[in-house]
């Protein structure tokens, strides 16, 4: 009885500050908007983007959150890559920033954490004030290393092996239930559903509530002032209170189960709790929330949009789908090529820690530097016919979507495995996966997301 009461009171203590902190930040933000009379005003309103050749080089703004949705990104990136590969935009809504657009330059910046800091944020803007949650993706070594090391084990070989069987059975469940011969939204029924199931497993989160994880992740990655997304601050704050509550409960529940003698699992929460550097993470609310949200976002938008992007790409390049059907052994390379072609996250941001020169451009200490992965992945200097999906491309693995250096994607192998299994299970089931309407895209300069992809399936006829 004592233990339960103690657990309860501890729970209340740790819950209160985190929620209060978020509510306080919300109050501050509401007051700020009231005082500055910006309440209810959107920062971004969608307008048609002009052809890149009608724009002066210096005026090109790659941070426009509608560039991807309007299908203008390829021509914009290409002109910058050719004419000003390290490009300065002085007056964006996110302030001045440098764009790094070529593959080789991006690798140079990404691996040089001594010169280019990932702190304090890896998105071009910033979250609302006092909501600056701390994530290890936006920390430099050595702090980054300690926090990342605590969770890296979740994708260690032993776990990956165990997860393969589980992922395959879930993919089968989802695919076997899909409607046949009638259009449906692939994003919702396949991409979101599969990633939600995976996330719930990684976190040992209540399975029936898995869509909550998707909801929180979508909120975290769609903040208007952070990356031009569609979510307003009131929605964000309310969502974060909900996330803080849900994730703290998850943490406390896990703690109590471990204390009661339950066998430790291989989920992220257990790993954080059994590591010296992170076992008290919950007492550092903004770090707790930040790192959990990082792991959720990291496994959500990315895999989801690669699952949707693959279907879209095979519809744009049907000969490649025929090639894949005839040569299923190409699936692993096709997965890398899909991840290159889609590039689910457009960029990562750095800040110069000292004056430096990059590809002939003088970058000052304190300048914001954006590494446009989505441009590097279409760099003609590295990839032949870069806009085409070529599933047997010999250097598909050289894509930049996972980043390079100490911040390289931690979940890359898990992501590849999920996508490989998806295509391994799709090929024997369906003759055609036909996109029947133009897709709809997400508003963001960060997430290259497909929000609606109507498809119709033709099952394989049994010979």
């Amino acid at each position: 009885m004592t233990t339960i009461t103690e657990t309860m009171s501890e729970r209340a203590q740790s819950l209160l500050p985190m929620e209060l902190q978020i509510r306080g930040a919300h109050l501050y933000d509401r007051t700020r908007r009231f005082v500055t009379r910006t309440n209810g005003r959107k920062i971004f309103t969608e307008r048609p983007i002009p052809p890149v050749d009608d724009v002066a080089l210096a005026d090109i703004d790659l941070s426009n959150p509608f560039l991807y949705r309007q299908g203008m990104w390829q021509s914009y990136y290409q002109r910058v890559r050719d004419e000003a590969p390290v490009h300065y935009q002085a007056n964006s809504p996110f302030g001045p920033f440098w764009s790094v657009t070529r593959h080789a330059d991006i690798i140079a910046v990404d691996k040089d954490h001594e010169t280019f800091s990932a702190e304090p944020f890896i998105i071009i803007g910033e979250p609302p004030r006092f909501m600056d949650v701390a994530m290890f993706i936006a920390m430099d070594p050595p702090k980054h290393d300690r926090q990342r090391a605590a969770v890296q084990g979740v994708v260690a070989p032993k776990n990956l092996r165990e997860m393969e069987t589980l992922i395959r059975s879930r993919v089968r469940e989802v695919l076997d239930d899909l409607p046949i011969g009638e259009p449906f939204n692939w994003v919702d029924l396949v991409s979101i559903e599969l990633t939600a199931r995976m996330l719930a497993t990684l976190l040992d989160f209540p399975y029936e509530q898995r869509r909550k994880l998707v909801e929180w992740s979508d909120l975290a990655s769609s903040m208007e002032q952070a990356n031009g997304g569609p979510s307003d601050n009131d929605t964000i704050f309310r969502g974060f209170v909900d996330a803080a509550r849900g994730l703290s409960a998850l943490w406390r529940d896990k703690e109590a189960r471990l204390a009661a003698g339950e066998e430790p699992g291989f989920d992220l929460i257990t790993m954080l709790q059994s590591n010296e550097d992170t076992k008290d993470l919950i007492d550092r609310p903004m770090e707790f929330l930040g790192n959990l949200i990082l792991l959720i976002v990291g496994g959500n938008d990315t895999t989801r949009n690669s699952m949707s992007g693959g279907v879209l790409a095979f519809n744009r390049f049907p000969d490649q789908f025929e090639k894949l059907k005839a040569n299923p052994e190409l699936i692993p390379n096709a997965v890398s090529e899909i991840i290159r072609w889609q590039t689910p996250l457009a960029y990562m941001r750095r800040v110069a820690k000292k004056d430096t020169v990059l590809n002939g451009q003088f970058i000052r200490k304190g300048d914001k530097v954006i590494m446009w992965y989505a441009s590097g992945n279409r760099d003609e200097r590295v990839f032949d016919r870069p806009d085409d999906l070529i599933i047997d491309r010999s250097n598909a693995r050289n894509h930049i979507s996972f980043g390079f250096g100490v911040h390289r994607c931690m979940g890359n192998r898990l992501a590849e495995m999920q996508l490989r299994i998806l295509w391994e299970e799709l090929l024997p089931r369906f003759e055609k996966i036909e996109v029947v309407e133009e897709p709809e895209y997400v508003q963001s300069n960060f997430v290259r997301g497909i929000s609606r992809l109507m498809v119709q399936l033709t099952p394989k006829t049994v010979a």
């Binding site: 690798i107 691996k111 070989p157 990956l160 050289n398 894509h399 100490v406």
Partner: protein
Amino acid sequence: MSVITFISHDGEKYETPLEEGQSLMQIAISNLIPGIDGDCGGEAACGTCHVVVDEGWVDVVGRSTPVEEEMLSMNPERESTSRLACQMTMSEGCDGLVVRLPEFQM
């Protein structure tokens, strides 16, 4: 002919000719050794050419450098003689070198 041996995680042996002046990663890629990816193309920036050097060869090829450590230190399969193959330039003295491959390139 000088030879290098790669041993896969499940014990399979692959022998390749030694090309002087090339990195061990380049040799593995051009000889299609399974289990070496080399995603970043030799920049020590991805960690996907991780090899474990046979103890007897450490004196010849050396231990990992700080730049390699940045990618290796967090690898769950890291061992004391782990190296990134892209940072190992092959010379005549490497004839007979034996390296083991991890189960996964992370």
